[in-house]
């Protein structure tokens, strides 16, 4: 594992200053990072919020930082990741690593050749509910051998036009459901085949759902259900993990540590519907950034690495292939 003599606190360059850069920001702020940013649009606004130094080119940013955090739309990931690796930088890259399995594998190999770390930001691994389940599964004592896993993720289509374009985002499978595909892989291991179905409302193409069924090499089977609901749909995530030794369930809607009644809640402002309300949790995005930065300093492993990012894209692509052909796809 490569260690790097980075400045401490690190100098980080955020590339792309849209929605997800705001989610990554608190982690870098917590680390006291020296912030730089470069973006085709919105860099000044981000700099004003974050105190980051703006750059008018990627090269200029790369010359000023130790770590690059790629927060652009997915189609731009490969070029930026490669440029950062070639400049000798370690890289955090928002998920999915790339739109195709080939590109994802290429990025992981590129990092290997460059001797730099590449962290795919699969933030759900840092949600404490999933992490708790994963720890319990790994002990073997809580659920025994996993048999049937179900994951649901519900939200609204993110309010940015490129998400709705399947060519650019990979659609609901590649953008939203990849979180749960990654969870299924994390918990039940590699898969041998994938079957997927998707439905897009004919009356409103922003409303869509996908079902993906994974058959793991272990014999376990997983169902992932994604939903981009109508405007106002509340963010929700659930899992149900049945093994021969026990059963684990979680539903974010059934986790009310704090309950306002109808009168009080009518006075609360509503969320934006696609990023979770994590106000009572350790911010999983911050936990993710801190784990990556800490691992860079110590040369330590992280709970998600480039190979995991590649696998998630490979399985998601197989799901898209199943959508296209109507067939079950071997992995």
């Amino acid at each position: 594992m490569t260690t790097t003599a980075h400045a401490d606190p690190p100098r980080v360059g955020i590339v792309g200053t849209g929605g997800i850069s705001r989610a990554h920001l608190p982690g870098w702020t917590e680390l006291g990072a020296e912030l730089h940013c470069y973006s085709l649009t919105g860099a000044e606004e981000f700099a004003a919020e974050s105190g980051a130094t703006t750059h008018d080119s990627l090269d200029s940013l790369l010359a000023a930082v130790d770590v690059v955090d790629v927060c652009t739309p997915t189609p731009a990931h490969p070029e930026i990741v490669r440029a950062a690796l070639d400049a000798g930088k370690d890289v955090v890259c928002e998920k999915p690593l790339a739109l195709t399995a080939e590109e994802s594998r290429d990025l992981a190999e590129h990092a290997e050749r460059a001797g730099r770390r590449l962290f795919p930001a699969h933030v759900v691994r840092f949600f404490p509910q999933y992490a708790a389940a994963k720890r319990a599964i790994d002990t073997g004592a809580v659920v025994g051998e996993l048999a049937v896993l179900r994951f649901e993720r519900t939200g609204s289509l993110p309010d940015r036009s490129w998400y709705a374009d399947e060519e650019l985002s990979g659609g609901i499978v590649m953008d939203q459901m990849i979180h749960d595909i990654d969870q299924a892989l994390w918990m039940a291991g590699p898969v041998q085949k994938v079957y997927a179905q998707q439905a897009i409302a004919s009356s409103d193409s922003t409303v869509r759902t996908a079902h993906v069924v994974l058959t793991h090499r272990s014999g376990a089977i997983s169902h992932c259900r994604g939903f981009w609901g109508p405007v106002g749909t509340k963010f929700r995530y659930t899992f149900d993990l049945a093994g021969d030794g026990g059963h684990l369930q979680y539903d974010s809607a059934g986790d009310p540590g704090i309950v306002f009644d109808d009168v009080a809640s009518a006075r609360q402002s509503s969320g934006d519907g696609f990023l979770p309300d994590v106000s009572t949790l350790r911010d999983p995005y911050a936990a993710e950034i801190v784990e990556f930065a800490t691992a860079l300093r110590a040369g330590a492993p992280t709970r998600v690495d480039a190979a995991d990012g590649v696998l998630a894209v490979e399985v998601s692509r197989a799901a898209l292939e199943s959508l296209r052909t109507g067939r079950s796809i071997a992995c």
Partner: protein
Amino acid sequence: MLTARTIDPATPMKVALMSCAHTHAVGYAGLLEARADVDLVVADPDGYGDVRGVRVVPSYAAAWDAWPEGPDAIVVTSANAHHKDLVLEAARRGVHVLCEKPLATNLPDAEAMVEACREAGVVLMTAFPVHFAPEVEALRTALTDGTLGEVIGLTGTNNGKLPAGRDWFTDVELAGGGAMVDHTVHIAEILDSVFGPPATVHAVTNRILYAERAGEGAETGGLVTLTYDSGLVATIDCSWSQPADAPTWGGLRLQALGTGGQLQIDAFAQHVGGHGQWLPYGTNTDALLLDAFLDAVRAGEAVDPTGEVGLRTVAVVAAAQESVRTGQPVAIAGA
């Protein structure tokens, strides 16, 4: 061939409950025995002995002969593989039938049963009690009256413990399979009642849960994905994934997603809980099922859930089993 029995409303209906093999027999017997408008005889040819306090006879022949003119109707609660012979015999005698689900263990048997009852002019209904759950009725209403807008997806879970006390439930010869046979049909019936038959069926199964107790070859976990010509996609988790020490047998939930929002139902939500406790207090759907059947017999015409829907759900299971064999989705013929 005899013609179908017409029922004299002034005298109690003569009903024979055929076999105590199914665990539902006890409940049906209790409900039927309590009715003044039913004269009940129970056949217990396997000698299970747990239906008590009613007139029990030791053979099917004794039940058929319990009245000089025979029964008006039978309720079939035998092992699944024996449904066919009992239903065909009832049709031959012009006797009306309520048959436990799944209607049959294979498609040809189910087709023969529906055809025989149709030709004989007898009522054939399939015992899907959850059809009568008020939560399911609310779902059907919301799916059909536009409350949920354009419905694009459903997820159903019908999870339970490994059926206990009756080994035939996990014997693939007698039951027709494992969890996928036992637990796909309830949700398939609910979906059928709203959307009609699916276009394709895909299924994967395993036998990790209860692997040491399930009969050889019986799947204990399964995910069945249905597509419809409208584009709708639905997945049923039919697994026996309820832990053995849970305070209740399992449950049935459905979640529907549309452009008008979401609805989730839990057909067995009504209970008083507590540590390790489960005290159900909801609607007795078995009683509603028997009401519907007895009314249908008096009227001479089946109502939902009919034998035909029982047949269509057997077709879904048969397609799911074929999908497991081939590894690919299977088109439903004639859908």
